[in-house]
Structure formats: structure tokens, C-alpha cells
Amino acid sequence: MGSRASTLLREEEIEEIKKETGFSHSQITRLYSRFTSLDKGENGTLSREDFQRIPELAINPLGDRIINAFFPEGEDQVNFRGFMRTLAHFRPIEDNEKNKDPIASEPLNSRSNKLLFAFRLYDLDRDDKISRDELLQVLRMMVGVNISDEQLGSIADRTIQEADQNGDNSISFNEFIKVLEKVDVEQKMSIRFLH
């Protein structure tokens, strides 16, 4: 599998991905072999079905949302670039990245990009607001059946109330950031990718 991966992945492509996502060379090739093993159609792109075939995702409450996050608006396929771009959100922030000059384009794994990723999980209609309904949907997904809907509703209400600053009964991205400002997002939205 490894050899196949390296043959299919051109060197300049790797360079580009490296630049864009910050993954190391070996990480990219490793993830590429994962990508190809997921790609049952062998057409260089992943479809939703490919993702859904991952057994663990079937028992992940937010599995489908996360799968959706891999797909750009209105598309049904994702290529390796897109795949890596999404994964890059979860790359831990390294020390040398912290003091980069802020003028350079923000890396995908910056705090706000991580938050944006999470925010998009809620924000289905992409109006940059988490409405009560959207929040409820996610809550319902994450919560066992032994919580009543009313209970959930009031939790959702309270959540929104807590975060909502401008009184529009929904959580905007700014409010989302504000609410989570004390949370160590950099750590909690990071995965250690193997080198």
C-alpha cells in the first residue's frame, strides 16, 4: 500500500500540501495511503459512502456531521487535497508556529480555524449563526435517549441564553468564540498525527 501511495502522489503535490497544511512529508504519505485505502472506487476521490464505511463512524454521534465537514458546499466528492485540508484543522499548534508573524495567512490549525470547524458542525445552513434548532439537533445527537426533549430544549435555551450577547436568540461565531475563550481549544481540538 505504501509503495502505491508514493507512486500515485507526486512530489510537487506533496510540497503543495505541505505548504498548505503544515503536515510533514511522512505524515502526508501516511495519510495518503489511508486515503487510498478508504477510496473503494479508486478514482482518487472519496464519497460519503466511503466515509460511512468506516465502522467507528457509525457509532459516533457526530459522525455524519463530521463527514459532511469534509465535503465542500454542494459537492459529493473530496480529493486528497481537500481531505488533507480538513484534517489539518486538527494538527496541534507547534511552538514555532505560535510566534509566526500574523500577516502571513492564518494556518488551518489556528485557534480560530479550529473553532470555525466546530462551529460549522452546528451551523447547518451556513448562516453563521447557531440557531436553537441547530443546537437542538446536535444536542439530540449527543445525548442519550433518556433525556427528554423538553429537558434538552431547556438546556438548549440556557446554552443560547448564556452565549447570546445581542439578543437574537442564536449564537454567532463571535459569540461562539467568546463563550469558549477560556477553553484550551488548541489542545482540545488537536490530534497527534503520527510522524
Binding site: 485505502s37 459522525g63 445525548v143 435517549v145 433518556n146 429537558q151 431547556s154 477553553v183
Partner: protein
Amino acid sequence: LPPLLSSPLLSSPLLSSPLPLLSSPPSPLLSSSPLLSSPLLSSPLLSSPLLSPFVSSPLLSSLLSSPLSYPLSFLFHFSQRFTTVVPESCMLILLGLVLGGIVLLTSKKQLYQLEPGLFFLFLLPTIVGDAGYFMPARLFFDNLGAILLSDVSLCSDQKVQAGLMEFLLFGALISAVDPVAVLAVFEEVHVNETLFIIVFGESLLNDAVTVVLYKVYMSFVEVGPENVQTADYFKGVASFLIVSIGGTMVGLIFAALLAFITRFTKKVRIIEPLLVFLMVYLAYLTAELFSLSAILSMTFCGIGCNKYVEANISQKSRTTVKYTMKTLASIAETIIFIFLGISAVDKSKWAWDTGLISCTLIFIFVFRALGVVMQTWVLNWFRLVPLDKIDQVVMSYGGLRGAVAFALVVLLDAERVPAKDYFVATTIIVVFFTVMFQGLTIKPLVNWLKVPRATNRKPTINEEIHERAFDHCLTAVEDIAGLNGYHHWRDKWEQFDKNYLSKLLLRKSVYRKSELWEVYQKINIRDAISVIDQGGNVLTSARLSLPSMASRASFPEVTNVTNYLRENGSGVCLDLQVIDNVPGAKVEEESETHHFLAGNLYKPRRRQTLHDSGDHERQDREIFQRNMKSRMETFKTTRHKRHSHKKDRSQKKRRGSDVKEQDLNDKPRRNVSWQDKDPVVVPVESEDEKGEHLEPEKEEDVGITFVARKVPDTPKERPKSVPAGLEVCQSPSVAPPSPTCSERNLPWKGGIGTLPVCVSMEATKIIPIDLQQAWNQSISSLESLASPPGPVEPLHPRVSALSRLGGQRPVSYSGSGVSGSGFGSRGAGSIVAQGIARFEFPPGGEEKDEEEGALSDQEQELQPLMSSSVRPPGPPPPPPLAQGLGRRRNPCVYLRSLVTAPPPGSEPLARSRGPTQL
């Protein structure tokens, strides 16, 4: 410092007094002494051969010191100025010095020494047991690698300092970072969790290393350095492994045993705390007996059994265990430090050698720092969040030596180790230096370095939810990226836990999450109290939480109602406040919600380490079904229009959408899939169906549960119902006492005839129907709380049968008796929701209309959630008049009669509540 000075003087007679004096503790402060003495007294019975040598003297002296020292440490907590600067442990050592000096002056001979036997058999276990039992297991295991690594090598660092075997021995014992000292200092400093866990965990495990090394070197010394061969070194390493692993195993075995036993203590709750103590202590003793690492054993026993025991034992036992352990631990801690001080004064025991002492101090410092830096360097290769320099500094600075080293050195055999006196002196100085100097300076240091402190604040609801979402995200992404190595062993363990351990060790009822009920109940009460406590605001909230606004017309001003209710309530509520003295601030409420969420949100796999109980499987199933369902829908719709599926999903889930429409949407879809003979689809669909069956069941829960939530609106229900509910429900798994019993037995219930007085005619007139109704609901809900969720189950077959009827299901379901209360509850639910939502908007003018509006609002809001889309045909809120009569004594009867009459299926439920009607 007058209190400090006077108290030793006061207590010095105590010191020299015989045991009998203690049996009648002179002040209430001394009440802690019985606590201490009981384990001490009972332990000899446990393993008399082992303990008999120690029973006599340590027992006496510890008994002596416990009443003495405890009030003193108590005093420290009052002298605020000192404690902000000086850690308690330093103060205690100082005090010990003073005490020791006084005793020495008076009797010319040091009477009370910190004896190793006492220390290792009684004092250390209490502290370690406390730490182990309450150790946040997840954190611990997260950092286990770090702990192990830093531990082993830090210890070995120190032996470099001398060539001689004896110095090696000394190096081994002096390098032990003392859990007691570290615990004492770090807890006061409040460093962040990671740091704390690493340093503390390290010092805990250190014991294993130290004791082993100590024993190994001890044997080397005995043999004589010239006789030691290379093979012996390997033996040393092997024995280290055996000791630590063996200790762990013993601990785990006892943990399993303890968990298993507590499974059957349902009828004898009273022995639960005792069992916990005894078994944990037994683990310690057993390990000690086999020369295994006792601390490791105890720690792991605590960690291992915590999850199961907590789930098995009753709430009261839990509280007892918690506070007793904490008390014991702090007593032991105090005693140790005081003894340390006392022992230091006795000159006969030690000999001064400046060179040795200064060398030791320097070496300790240097090697600790070196070790930390080296290991963190290695560790950071593997850690997601590297330990930075500041952490390293604190880690190396936090290497406090304490009582363990001291006890070990005192244990040395003076004949074999001629330099013992020097070692003792050095150890004492080192301990003093590290505890006093480092202990004093670590706080400023931490401040100066701006080490992130532990935050005591509870996560907000937002954080709670979002962080959980993050976790799910991470898990999913890990799965997608094919990285399963990181949490691999943890997953394995969970599988094992789920499949075998939980089944074996957990009570069956625990699967039903009785915890949920407790928490739930609390939320309701907090809600109620907080609403009331909001004073003026009650107007709005109470008003908003009324199920209907109809009768509000009879009230010129709602404020009056609420005020009236409040006043009325406060008189009657005394009982409640006794039971539940939490002031019901919003914070409380939130923290409850937080717990609630914590208990009920699905946990991502990586999270469920040890804390999670056996409902994992169910969770998986639920999620799986849900996901499959949504995928099915996606699949189907994408057939029609390939690209619109996202839209469809969101539409399907859009809560605000028209109910009917949704219903329609739902049904055809299902039919389609039924007709689909797709081999894959069919099984999935059936599962889907199953999921549907589950839903109703859940909703019932909801119905019942929910009502309780309702509590907020009426203050006066608190007096009556809440205490009863509380009392009864305290331990829900005890054979559910019928509410009637409680009614009869409880004093305030007994006088039921009188009760109405408070609520009485006036109230009947004044209180709007809706309040009445709400009140009834809350009462019935509390009763339903009294009866565990069990009865719900019998419904299941019926509901599922109904659901097979297709479109009928929601209707018949909600129409059935269950929803009689369910209906009310629903109303209430949305009320709460609306209450919050509408808080900002002052009410419109028209009362009647509003009522209807409110109702339909509720419906709209709720129905999509409830998936039962048709408005329940059940009776609308009970008519005011009937209510007025029925309500006073047992208003719930009315409701219940409504509830229970129609449905055949809900009989069990009805029966469970039946008794109340008497």
C-alpha cells in the same frame, strides 16, 4: 501568634496524660478523634499477627496526638495571614518542633517519635487511600506514561552521589518525593491539573521505587559490597518489577472484590462505607504482608474500585465515604508533620555533618532538575501538549521530601549501617529544607512564573456541550485518519470492561442510570428555588411558567401572587431548606445542568476510560441506529435528487417546521423503505423501527421526569412535596417506598389536614388554575420520582405494537394515560423553555388568547422534538373548579385519575403511583 503559643501549652498536659483522658474528648473539636481511632482499633483485628507489635505504642501516641493536632491545624486555617504565605505543612512542622521542645524540656526524654510502624501502617494508608480513591482516573491514565518515566529515572538519579553501598541506600531513600508533602503543598498552591497529577502521581508511584531500591540496597549492604555480583543487580531490577506490579495486582484484586461485594449490599447500606475502608486498607496490608508496594496497591485499589463502588453504593454511603476519607487523610497528614517536628528536636538521634548535608541538598536539587529536564525532553516527543519549561521548573521544584524518607531512614539498622545517625540528621535537614524552604517559595515561584492555575470554576453549559462535541470530532477524525494507536489500549480495556467487568461488578439497576434520577430531581428543586429566589423577577418567570394564562385575568397583578406564594412558601418551606440548604443560585442550577449533561451526553470512546458504566453498548446502539436512520433518509432522498440531501436532512430535523408536514414526511418515507426489497435496507430499517420503539419509552421517561422539572412555578409545593420526594428518593434503588408511606410517616405529611391551611382556601382562590395545575403536576412528578423508572418498561411491548400500526403510534401513544402526566409535563417543559426565552419580552395584553397561543406555541416547539406529532387528545388542563376541590389534599389524584383511567398499557405505572391516592 498567641493562639499558637497557648495551644501547645494547653495541650502538653494532654500529651503526657494517659489514654483514658482521651476517651472523653474535652471539646467538640475533638470529635475527629473517634473517627481516627475506629480504624486504628479495628485494624488489629484484621491482621493481628502483622500488627500486634505496633498496636500498643503507636495507637496510644496517635490517639494522643490526633485530638491535639487537629484543632491546631484548625486554628491555622483561621489565622488567614499565615496560611496565605506559609503552607500548612510548614506550620505543622514548626508546631511539632515547638511541641517537641516542650516535651523534651519537661521530661528530658523524647516520648513520642514518629515511628515507622505507625507511619506505614496507619498514617500513610489513610492519606494514600484518600488520594487513590479520589484520584481523577482519567487524568491519571492520561499522564501515566509521564509519571512512570519521571518516576523511575528520578529515583535512580540520586544514587550517583556516593560510591558506597550505604550511600546508595541513602540516595534511594532520600530521593523519594513524598506524596504527603507534595499533596499538602501543591493543593494549596493550586497549580493546574496536569502538573499536579504528574508530580503527585509520580510521588505516589515513587514509593514503589523507593521502597524497592531501599530493600535492594539494604540487602546489598547486608551482604557487603564486595560480595555483590552483577547478577544481583538484575535481581534488583526484577524485584522492582515484581514489587510494583505485584502491588498493583493486589490492589486491583481487592478493587474487584470490593466492587463485587458492594453489589450485594443493597439491604445493608450501613456497612457500605465500612466495607470500602476495610477493603482498601486490607489491600494495603496484604501488599505490605507480601513485601509488595503497599502504596501502589492501595492507590490502584482506590482507582480501580471507585467507578463500580460509586455506582453501587447509595448516595449517603458515598457522602460518608468521601468525608470520612478526607477527614482521616487530613488528620494523618497533620500528625505526620507534627511528629516530624517533634522527632527533629531529639538530639540523641542524629549527628551533624555539614559536608554531607550540603552535598545532599545540592545533589538533590541538581539531579531533580536534571532528571526532569531529561525526561520531559523524552516525553515531549510523545505528548500532544508538550510540557514547557515552566512546567519543568515547577516539577523539579516540587520535589519535596517528606515523611517517607524520614521513616525509611529511621528504620535503618544502626548496626549494619554505622552512619545511620548522619543519615538521619541529613534526612531531617533535607526534609525541613524542602518542605519549609521550597514549600514556602513555591507559591511565589508559581505566581512569578505565571504557571496556569487550576480553575475551580465549573465549565459553563456551552463549554460542556462544545467540548463534548470536540471530543466526538477528534474521535471521528482519528477514525478517518486511521489513527487508532493512540487510544488503542484504552479501547481494548473498555471492551473488556463493558463485556465482563461491568456485568460482574455493577448492580443491575445501575444500568438504568439511577444517577440520572437523582441529578434530575436536584435540577428541579434548584430550578424551583432559583426561580423563587429571583424575587421580583419571579413575576415574569412564574408567569411565564404557567401552563395557561387563562385565570390570570382574575389577578390584577401577578406580582402579588408570586409574592404571596413566596411568603407563604417561606413559612412552609423550612423543612425543605433543612434538607436542601443550597440557596438555589443560578450557579447551582447550572452546575446541576452540567452534571446532568456530563452524565448523559454520549461519551466519545476515548473519554470513557474507567468512569463509564456499562451503558456503553446501549449508547453505541442508539447512535448507530440514529446514524443509520439518517443515512437511510439521506440515501432515499438522494435517489430523488442527488444533491439536495443536506437540505433534506436539515429540513427533516428542522424543529420549528410544521408538525403535520413532518409527520407526513415521516410516514411515506418509511413506507418507501418497507417496499424497498433492498437486502441491505431491510435489516437496517427494522433496526430503525426498533429505534422508534425506544423513543416512546424514552418519552415516557420524559413525561414523568419532566413533570418534576415543572417545580419552578409554585413555591408552595416545596413544603409538601419536595421534602417527601427527597426523603423517599434519596436512595432510589432501595425498594421504592410508596409515597403514601412517606406521607404517613413524615411529620408534615401526617398533619395533612392542617397542611391545606397554608395553601388553603385563600390560596385556592388566589392561585390561578394554572399554578394549581402546575403544582399538581409537580407533586405527581415527585411521586413518580419516588417510584423508580422501572415501571415504564412494561409499556414497551404495547408501544411497540402501537408503533407498528404506523401513523397511529404517536397519537395513541400520547393519548394514552402515560401522557396524561406527559401532557402536562410537556406543557411545563416548554414553559420552562419559553420562560427563559420570553423573559425579555413583556407579555402581551390578551390573556385568553395568550393562553391558547402559549399552548400552541408549546406544541409547535415540542412536537418536532417529540416525534409524536399530533397534539394529544388527552384532556386539556383540568378545569379549575374540580381542581380546587381535589387539589388540597392530594391534588395529584385528580390528575392521576385522568392519567390512569384510559390506558391499559400504563397500568403498571398507575399502580406504582396508586398508593398515593389513598
